[in-house]
């Protein structure tokens, strides 16, 4: 397991918010932790995959999409808070996220 600092957590949150703001063409400050990425921002699964690829590149992670898919069966991504939490777990646990 990789340690995650508050700084990294904030960096991940900023990266996610910036990404959705740009892709969904909304102001970043309109997005909150309660925002639903699908319903409120109109995001889709392909955007989500791109975000995973971007994160994997940024933090040099070897992550299988299936591990994330299985995790999502247990923890649906209903709010930005869920998304941030999941990406922090990806950073920490990599493919072992499925067991979290």
């Amino acid at each position: 397991m990789r340690e995650i600092t508050e700084e990294i957590r904030q960096e991940i949150k900023d990266m996610i918010f910036d990404y959705y703001a740009e892709e969904c063409e909304v102001e970043k400050d309109e997005i909150t932790m309660d925002t639903n990425p699908q319903e409120d921002l109109g995001s889709d699964s392909l955007m989500f995959v791109e975000l995973i690829e971007m994160t994997a590149d940024k933090y040099d992670l070897d992550i299988k999409l299936q591990s994330i898919g299985k995790y999502m069966l247990k923890a649906p991504m209903d709010t930005m808070s869920d998304v941030v939490e999941m990406f922090c777990k990806i950073y920490q646990y990599g493919n072992d996220i499925v067991n979290q």
Binding site: L65, S67, G69
Partner: protein
């Protein structure tokens, strides 16, 4: 020799998602082409007022018209392709944009899908297609191997390392999508279209369509087209005609077609869809880039 490729999308994008991306100057052109095409074909611009099959093909024709508008925009901007490829019904679109058939004939080909759908209904065939996000072609092939026969379901297209289209009998598609979801797909969903394009079962129901594809003389395309079936470079009208005929009942390897284009030297890909759909499900290597309408 090949540096720049144009990529044409298939059907599936909702008109509103396409049109929202067209800037005003392109909307004018779109309106003109739409008016002309729908008038000639007897389709209602208020899509809901069309009968069942008409409504569906009307959406697909809108997609074709958007492709044409974006294609012409790229050309006017001096962005000229060295080669191109069409994903699924993108083959029909590229055939007309690259000058092998008139645009009107491409619309007529799309209209012929009504005959195919009618034939399926008469034979009470329950078919469907679906998309799996999160698995590659090989992953799905392995997963389906001991669970489904090719008569039930096949991979209609391997699109990228995380995007696969499946096609076959509706009940098998439903089971397969559920299986994928449980095995960790990011998303798995069916089209609910009642057809199984790119599955061999479609051959017997699409005779009228296939015959129609051959009912005109095809010119040699202005720019070469890469076959998404055998990945050969097509330069003759005859080859383009055959590609259109095969399209209905032959599986695609879009991922391999993109690899082939890279092997041929392509580094600049231009997505001709108005909403950048091709760039979303396609992947190319880091030395390449897929440009969309937004970038141009």
């Amino acid at each position: 020799m090949y540096n720049r490729a144009f990529l044409f999308n298939g059907i599936g994008s909702k008109p509103e998602k396409l049109l929202v991306n067209l800037p005003p100057e392109l909307m004018d052109k779109y309106e003109f082409y739409l008016e002309t095409a729908f008038g000639r074909l007897g389709l209602n611009k208020d899509l809901e007022k069309n009968k069942a099959y008409d409504g569906r093909v009307a959406e697909w024709i809108i997609s074709l018209i958007c492709d044409r508008v974006v294609f012409e925009h790229y050309i006017e901007k001096g962005i000229i392709p060295d080669i191109g490829a069409g994903y699924s019904s993108g083959i029909v679109s590229i055939s007309s944009c690259f000058g092998a058939v008139p645009h009107e004939f491409a619309h007529d080909i799309i209209m012929m899908n009504r005959a195919t759908m009618r034939c399926l209904e008469e034979h009470d065939e329950k078919l469907d297609m679906g998309i799996v996000i999160g698995f590659s072609y090989n992953d799905i092939e392995e997963m389906f191997a001991d669970k489904f026969s090719p008569d039930e379901i096949i991979i209609g297209s391997g699109n990228s390392r995380f995007h696969v289209m499946v096609s076959g009998r509706a009940d098998a598609v439903e089971k397969a999508l559920l299986l994928c979801q449980n095995e960790g797909a990011i998303k798995a969903f069916s089209f609910g279209t009642g057809v199984a394009y790119h599955h061999p079962i479609m051959e017997k129901y699409s005779k009228e369509y296939v015959d129609f594809c051959a009912s005109t003389e095809y010119k040699d395309p202005v720019y070469p087209i890469l076959s998404i079936f055998n990945r050969e470079i097509m330069t003759t009208g005859k080859q383009v005609m055959t590609e259109n005929q095969l399209n209905v009942y032959t599986p695609i390897r879009w991922d391999l077609a993109l690899n082939k284009l890279e092997e041929l030297g392509v580094t600049e890909f231009f997505d001709v869809s108005a909403n950048g759909a091709v760039s979303k499900f396609s992947r190319v290597s880091r030395k390449c880039k897929i440009y969309t309408l937004e970038d141009v």
